[in-house]
């Protein structure tokens, strides 16, 4: 059970982390485009 939970947690952290990274990068470019 712990193995499964650990693996699912790893998947969740990486996917959410990548999603946040993508969102932050897009927001930064959007802001820069608005300033220009």
């Amino acid at each position: 059970m712990l193995n499964m939970l650990a693996a699912y947690a790893v998947i969740a952290v990486l996917l959410v982390g990548y999603g946040i990274s993508l969102w932050r990068r897009t927001r930064a470019v959007n802001r820069a485009l608005e300033r220009e």
Partner: protein, 252 residues
């Protein structure tokens, strides 16, 4: 100074693009918003369904117990890694042939997502292996060739993260194409070498039982939707970077 945000082609080597116009026309602001409106809730629902099926619907495997449930997301992660690198391969060929920036952007976007999913494979696999084999890692043919694939595309992203020009984009395309040759090797590795890694038997007698197969299929669908969603978002980021680079170039 916003140069770090702009698409990093050196000015003197800049191709005809970057352009302020989206080169994937259907990924303009309005259509992208429509795509997100459908794709985001659909992806979320199917992932939630896959998670429910993996934990509660699929039966407990007799010998490995709950650790086997890692399989329902480990295999789809590998599938998406392969799919993503196949897209890098095709886009790389088209970029070298046509020279259009849209293929380069597609390859870059897909490579980044492919590396992320291959990382998931390489992290969830050892957790499952520890429960099944008693060791996190063995230098088995499938594990080793998958690790090599990961390194190849980490190299691809490293190349793209340096200050870029069109020659590096071409070199990256070649790397993306050659790197994909490792995918069929990974696929056949369990049949041509003696490995510890199990072979996936889905449709033959003695293979996955129906509830397990259904769970796997839903999980595969969920990650395919997620890949599509992330690809759209990542390509749009690249288009916006190009639009910014174009504006900065116009301002001199």
């Amino acid at each position: 100074m916003q140069t770090s945000l702009a698409y990093p082609y050196a000015k003197e080597n800049a191709p005809a693009q970057p352009t302020a116009q989206p080169y994937w026309k259907f990924l303009g602001d309005e259509t992208a918003r429509k795509i997100y409106r459908v794709l985001a809730p659909l992806t979320f629902l199917v992932i939630a369904g896959a998670l429910y099926m993996a934990v509660w619907y699929a039966p407990r495997e007799a010998t490995m117990g709950d650790a086997q449930r890692i399989f329902y997301f480990h295999v789809p992660s590998a599938w998406i890694g392969f799919l993503a690198f196949f897209v890098v391969f095709v886009a790389g060929v088209l970029y070298l042939w046509k020279g259009a920036r849209k293929w380069d952007a597609l390859a870059l976007a897909s490579a980044e997502i492919g590396v992320m999913f291959t990382t998931l494979v390489l992290l969830t696999g050892p957790i499952w292996a520890k429960a099944a084999w008693g060791a996190f890692w063995v230098w088995d043919a499938r594990l080793t060739t998958t690790l090599i694939l990961w390194f190849i595309y980490i190299g691809y992203l490293t190349l793209r993260s340096t200050v870029d020009d069109i020659r590096k984009a071409r070199l990256a395309a070649v790397l993306g194409i050659v790197g994909f040759l490792d995918v069929p090797v990974i696929y056949i590795s369990v049949t041509i070498w003696r490995t510890q890694h199990p072979t996936l038997v889905v449709n033959e007698p003695g293979g996955l039982e129906p509830a397990m197969r259904a769970t796997l299929m839903v999980a595969l669908a969920s990650f395919t939707l997620l890949y599509t969603f992330l690809l759209v978002a990542r390509i749009r980021l690249e288009q916006k970077r190009d639009a910014l680079a174009s504006k900065l170039a116009q301002e001199g």
